[in-house]
């Protein structure tokens, strides 16, 4: 039978009508789930950002009979223009795992018993107050998330910093983008990218720096592929420590030894200067040169402190500094052939090529994370390839609202919604908007995340409230922090949607509303704020994290600061928060605009979004009448930093002779607590494994699937080998996805961090292997 095109389309249309939401294929093997009573019902589509990665795709969620039943890409959202990845498409199934936490639980004589949520909230408030009265204001802490909604983070900060007067507010985004922030602050004086995803449609060359974008930011990656297909001469260069799906797609993969990206970046600058590729006009007008401290340590000991100091240098001094980084010298450090370093430099140096660099965890989870961020900015600044369409040093963020909630709201110990606690004006502003005495806000930052969990272990912190994150899987050097959390007089409150290793250590579990079961906003990697309405009801007594905090705040006597009603609290919270960002550098869209649109980019000035910052053609905050205005720094310039190569905190040696690298796979989001409850994702990658190079596996005598014991100075773990799988590490390195709570790889990792950003390095520590 031959179908003509029209007949085929007709048949296809019948097929897709069958596939619309609610009417699952009858009689098929997946189809054992319950059907909605009364058939498919009327389907309404409602917009929301995706629950998962920092790309921030716009989704349309199909709703029928009060249940989310389908997802399609939102064609009105410029992030993804109607396309999603497999996590987004199946995201709504994560709402309906059978073991959803729907009631509050309180530990009584060692066992968790169900209680009404109001009783659990009473206990949380009592315990918080009692701990604070007995041990002081800094004995209580809040640990949140880049998956908090913006209102979640805002009320947490207001309660803890404004009302309770402690700077013990941190979020898991410390583990994911703190180095990106300190990189931006030190190079530009203002956080978050100058460019936007539209850069992908203009760049000629993409360099991914230690960034497996094909799996971690898939929708952006395939936008690159489709540009390469559509436009002549587009190239993707994968600069990596292991072969990944991104390497499979790249035009060229350049492998470097872990940590030596620092040396290679400097070498690229050396070559750019040597070959006279420096954009002199740009550098003279818009750049100043600086150096900071060296030999800055790794933070593996308790109470570690460090503060950098900047010294201005001149171009000649910078040139002299780069003498140590000739391609030939750097080849010896990095294993990257000098020719390839020169090739990379020539791409950045060629004035007719637009270059976009992408990075995420490879550069941020790095004991010199701030430095490597600075160094990649250096490259772009030397050649002036920045803040114009297609020329973009682009720091991607991992979580859906790491930017929106953690970076912009400032849910980190040193931050306020505008500025930092150390700054008196910033404290004044916060006190005024929050209606608290300015003395409430402590001018001294307290604990960053790793130190906060150390303080919990030591007993300096006795009460911790954890929301929307799973630190008992994700903390590096995990065993110490789990033992700490389990100590007798520690009180741990966990708000979550499913049982996890973190709820296992909780004294109180609060059932949380998830994603579209509440109203809220996220903020993605390209300064885009995305509002979602409550689309379905939360199950049982589940309550939004925002409202949980407000309930506790009211119980502690802060009605004045938290006056809102449960019927309408997101809009007033947003409008209050927005006051912190008034002005053309960070103006946020009003609630009514957010509610209507599929995301709005800030600065949102006079009804217009800002796509490229620091460029007067796009950015109304530019005031200097020049072609660029880097207004974040007092000298109105972007800062180039002389930052040396320094080795990793722990490198392979005789005894522990392998690198251990950890990360994600496309199918699973972080610790898998949501995606493992999505059938298709779980079935695609049901459990974790350790990737080993085939030659190393042969030496060890293991074949695919056999068990390998991974041993570090901190702990050990036995898991199946994956040889020649999707990712293939180089010889002497193993890689483990961390989504699987049955294989807690973070018991093996090291809690060393970047002394400037305090972000731990999950990509490098030393292990040895045994056949199990």
């Amino acid at each position: 039978m031959k179908l003509d095109r029209r007949e085929f389309i007709k048949q296809a249309a019948i097929g897709s009508a069958l596939a619309t939401a609610g009417s699952l294929f009858p009689g098929i093997s997946f189809g054992s789930w319950n059907r909605l009573a009364g058939g498919p019902g009327v389907l309404a589509w409602q917009k929301t950002p995706c629950r998962f990665c920092g790309t921030g795709c716009g989704l349309l969620v199909g709703v029928s009979d009060g249940r989310a039943v389908a997802v399609k890409g939102d064609p009105n959202c410029t992030v993804n223009k109607g396309l999603c990845c497999m996590k987004g498409y199946h995201s709504v199934q994560a709402l309906y795992g059978r073991d959803r936490i729907t009631t509050a639980k309180v530990r009584k004589n060692g066992t968790l018993v169900e209680v009404p949520i109001s009783e659990a909230l009473n206990l949380v408030a009592e315990k918080l107050k009692e701990t604070r009265d007995t041990y002081g204001k800094d004995s209580v802490a809040m640990y949140g998330s880049g998956q908090w909604t913006i209102p979640d983070g805002y009320v947490a900060s207001k309660l803890f910093k404004g009302c309770l007067g402690t700077n013990n507010v941190e979020a898991n985004a410390r583990l994911c983008m703190a180095s990106a922030v300190t990189g931006f602050m030190t190079s530009f004086g203002l956080d978050e990218p100058m460019g936007c995803y539209e850069d992908i449609d203009h760049a000629d060359v993409f360099v991914t720096w230690g960034n497996n974008m094909a799996e971690m930011h898939p929708v952006l990656f395939s936008r690159m592929l489709s540009n390469r297909k559509r436009r002549a001469g587009v190239k993707i260069i994968d600069f990596a420590t292991r072969f990944t799906r991104t390497s499979q797609a790249a035009d060229k993969t350049i492998i470097f030894k872990p940590q030596t990206d620092l040396a290679v970046a400097n070498s690229i600058c050396y070559e750019i200067i040597k070959n006279n590729w420096v954009n002199d006009n740009f550098v003279n007008e818009h750049v100043s040169f600086h150096k900071g401290k060296t030999n800055i340590g790794y933070g593996t000991e308790d109470h570690f402190t460090f503060s950098d100091s900047a010294e201005t240098i001149d171009f000649e001094a910078f040139k002299l500094f780069l003498e140590d980084y000739t391609p030939e010298k750097v080849e010896k450090i990095s294993g990257v052939p000098a020719e390839e370093i020169k090739y990379l430099a020539s791409l950045y140096g060629n004035p007719s090529l637009k270059v976009t660099s992408f990075w995420c965890m490879g550069m941020n989870q790095h004991t010199r994370g701030t430095w490597i961020n600075n160094l990649v900015y250096n490259i772009h600044l030397l050649v002036g390839k920045i803040s114009t369409p297609g020329n973009s040093p682009f720091s991607l963020t991992g979580q859906p609202s790491a930017c929106g909630t953690v970076r912009e709201v400032g849910t980190l110990t040193h931050k306020l919604p505008h500025g930092v606690v150390m700054n008196e004006n910033d404290r004044q502003m916060a006190a005024e908007i929050w209606q608290v005495p300015v003395e409430n806000i402590d001018p001294k930052p307290s604990y960053h995340t790793v130190e906060m969990f150390r303080a919990l272990d030591r007993g300096d912190i006795k009460f911790m409230w954890i929301q929307v994150t799973n630190p008992m899987v994700t903390m590096p050097n995990l065993r110490r922090y789990r033992d700490g959390a389990l100590k007798d007089d520690r009180f741990v409150v966990v708000s979550d949607v499913y049982p996890t290793p973190t709820t296992d250590v909780a004294d109180v579990i609060l059932p949380a509303a998830m994603w579209i079961e509440q109203e809220g906003m996220f903020g993605n990697s390209e300064r885009r704020t995305q509002h979602f309405a409550q689309i379905v009801d939360p199950p049982g007594e589940a309550m939004s994290d925002t409202w949980q905090i407000i309930e506790v705040a009211k119980r502690l006597g802060f009605e004045k600061q938290f006056p809102w009603s449960q019927d309408n609290y997101i809009e007033p919270i947003w409008e209050e928060y927005r006051r912190f960002h008034t002005g053309p550098k960070h103006e946020m869209a009003p609630y009514t605009v957010l509610a209507e649109r599929s995301g709005v980019q800030w600065p949102f000035v006079d009804g217009r979004e800002t796509r490229w910052r620091y460029n007067p053609a796009y950015d109304p905050a530019c005031k200097n009448d020049k072609d660029f205005d880097f207004y974040g720094k007092k000298d109105n310039r972007a800062w180039i930093w002389a930052r040396p190569y320094e080795p990793a905190a722990e490198s392979p040696d005789e005894e522990y002779n392998f690198w251990l690298n950890t990360g994600r796979v496309i199918e699973h989001w972080h610790t898998g607590s949501m995606t493992r409850r999505v059938p298709v994702l779980h079935n695609a990658v049901p459990s974790s494994y350790v990737e080993i190079h085939p030659e190393d596996a042969a030496d060890l005598g293991v074949v695919n699937g056999e068990l390998v014991k991974i041993i570090s100075r901190r702990g050990e773990l036995t898991m199946p080998a994956q040889i020649n799988g999707r990712g293939v590490p180089v010889r002497g390195m193993v890689f483990v996805p961390f989504f699987d709570e049955s294989y807690l790889i973070n018991e093996v990792t090291l809690d060393a961090f970047c002394p400037i950003s305090k972000q731990p390095d999950y990509k490098k520590c030393a292990v040895r292997l045994e056949k199990a």
């Binding site: 619309t20 297909k229 695919n704």
Partner: protein, 221 residues
């Protein structure tokens, strides 16, 4: 940790498929199926480069062109079981057989053949140039003796996990990592042809969940 759904029947005994599918292919690749402690399939998605190369090489027009010339029924008629190498359905010129790579002159990139008045299907694995190692010519339609062979059912189409979501990849990816070869262009089978391949990374949306594996559900230990 993993709980197998006993009631998930995929239309044929699993063992049949494992025996019929894995053995010849494992032999072909010089490997052998091993009992392992891992739930993650052997050969887990390691040949993705083929897909990306195909996306780059295939002319844009061919990514969406359609001839409607082949149907799934015709496709399976050439196979002993789903996943087996199809037999060669046409006469092969004697002069041709001395050099098997000549097959690729039509089946490497596809395109219209005046000789057969049809669009040639594209092979997903052009790097294996000894085509007749697996693909047999047909000299007679007569069986030597009758056989009691039964095949399993072909993977069902459109098994999305929920309405509007992209269906997972229902078959093993071994030797078929290049989605573009079979699922796009005028030589593609109409029922499985798509025209959105320009985005290039099929597995961004389509997860590999072969129907020959039992479905499991996550439960905490």
């Amino acid at each position: 940790m993993m709980k197998t759904h006993a009631h998930h029947s995929r239309g044929a005994p699993l063992s049949l498929l494992v025996v019929s599918l894995l053995l010849p292919l494992a032999t072909l690749l010089g490997g052998a199926a091993t009992a392992t402690a891992s739930d993650v399939p052997d050969n887990f998605d390691n040949q993705g480069k083929k897909l990306f190369t195909a996306q780059q090489r295939t002319p844009t027009a061919n990514l969406s062109a359609d001839s409607g010339g082949r149907t799934l029924a015709e496709f399976y008629a050439l196979r002993q079981y789903p996943g087996s190498p199809p037999r060669i359905p046409h006469v092969v010129d004697l002069a041709f057989s001395g050099n098997e790579t000549d097959c690729l002159s039509c089946h490497g990139k596809g395109g219209y053949s005046t000789e057969f008045d049809a669009f040639a299907p594209v092979t997903p694995h052009p790097e294996n140039v000894l085509c007749t190692q697996c693909h047999a010519q047909t000299k007679t339609g007569e069986p030597f003796v009758e056989t009691d062979w039964v095949s399993i059912a072909a993977p069902k189409l459109g098994l999305s996990f929920l309405g509007s979501s992209p269906p997972p990849i229902p078959h093993s990816l071994q030797l078929r990592e290049n989605c573009i070869a079979c699922h796009t262009g005028p030589g593609a089978v109409v029922e499985i042809r798509i025209d959105h391949a320009s985005r290039g990374d099929c597995r961004q949306c389509h997860a590999a969940v072969p129907q020959s594996q039992p479905l499991t559900e996550f439960t905490r230990k």
